[in-house]
């Protein structure tokens, strides 16, 4: 059972400056942040869907598990100012998923169980920058951390790494998601401290 704590807790440390973005502090635990109840979608009802391409694409859990996967070791940075180093994930690259869909979109809007959405430019989720992760630290991803599967976009603030993700809608325009439409930055680069509108 992983340690769970609220978002602003955790042992504080400065950490190595080349790996901790400005305004962040290091934690050893893995804080849980949620905007609502934790969904518990049974795996036999889970699908991952990409809309907005020439044809809709959808995978069941078993089909998704059969896609080529990668192990990712990366640092993560939450807009509530904690950073965690060397987290280990396993999942399917968005390069793999988007390579299976015929499209000419420039953006995606990710949608999730529970109604959460987040928007991303495709240039920020391709070329090895983003995954749909289903394992964390060698174990199936816990529901509190977004399991059975979450987005992992570690170079952006972690609200972009949407928990309980169920698919994307490919779009021509960058449509703000749940937080981006009410104060949080449209992109969210932690190294530029893009926390709020206008940052």
């Amino acid at each position: 059972m992983p340690q769970i704590s609220r978002g602003f807790h955790g042992r504080r440390s400065e950490g190595p400056s080349d790996r901790i973005p400005p305004g962040q502090h290091l934690v050893d635990d893995f804080p849980v942040l949620s905007a609502g109840p934790t969904p518990h979608t049974p795996l036999d009802e889970w699908t991952f869907t990409i809309q907005g391409g020439a044809e809709p694409a959808s995978w069941t859990w078993d089909e998704f598990q059969a896609l080529p996967s990668e192990e990712i070791t990366t640092d993560i940075h939450c807009v509530t100012k904690w950073s965690k180093l060397d987290t280990v994930w396993k999942g399917v690259s968005l390069d793999t998923l988007l390579g299976l869909v015929d499209h000419d979109a420039g953006y995606l809007l990710a949608f999730c169980d529970g109604g959460y959405t987040t928007n991303l430019p495709l240039e920020h989720v391709t070329d090895g920058k983003a995954w749909i992760a289903y394992d964390y630290d060698g174990e199936a991803l816990e529901p509190e951390h977004g399991g059975p599967a979450r987005l992992l976009v570690p170079h952006l603030y972690f609200w972009k790494s949407a928990k309980w993700v169920r698919g994307f809608r490919l779009q021509d325009e960058d449509e703000p998601g749940f937080w981006e439409s009410n104060g949080y930055h449209i992109l969210g680069d932690p190294w530029l401290e893009q926390r709020y509108w206008g940052d």
Partner: protein, 89 residues
């Protein structure tokens, strides 16, 4: 595990008082999604997300999102159909 993260509407009473200058926890709201009327104090509140999210206790729809930056506050109240505030006696 989810329920230990959930607070009730009293948790936003101080913030509402600061933002609006009125006591809101005793106000009656109507959810735009399900039409249920309830007292603000009985709503479901999640405060450990990047912002504060207030949900209908009946249908769980998002009623209000509050994001507080260092010098600004953003409010989305679009989940409410109405909020009834009692005038002082």
């Amino acid at each position: 595990m989810a329920d230990d993260r959930r607070l009730d509407g009293n948790a936003i009473g101080g913030m509402m008082l600061e933002l609006f200058g009125v006591e809101m926890t005793t106000a009656t709201e109507v959810c735009r999604t399900c039409g249920t009327a309830d007292v603000v104090a009985r709503l479901e509140v999640y405060m450990d997300a990047p912002g504060t999210v207030v949900r209908c206790a009946h249908c769980k729809a998002v009623l209000m999102r509050i994001v507080r930056g260092p010098d600004r506050t953003w409010l989305d109240l679009s989940g409410f159909r109405s909020i009834e505030l009692r005038s002082p006696d």
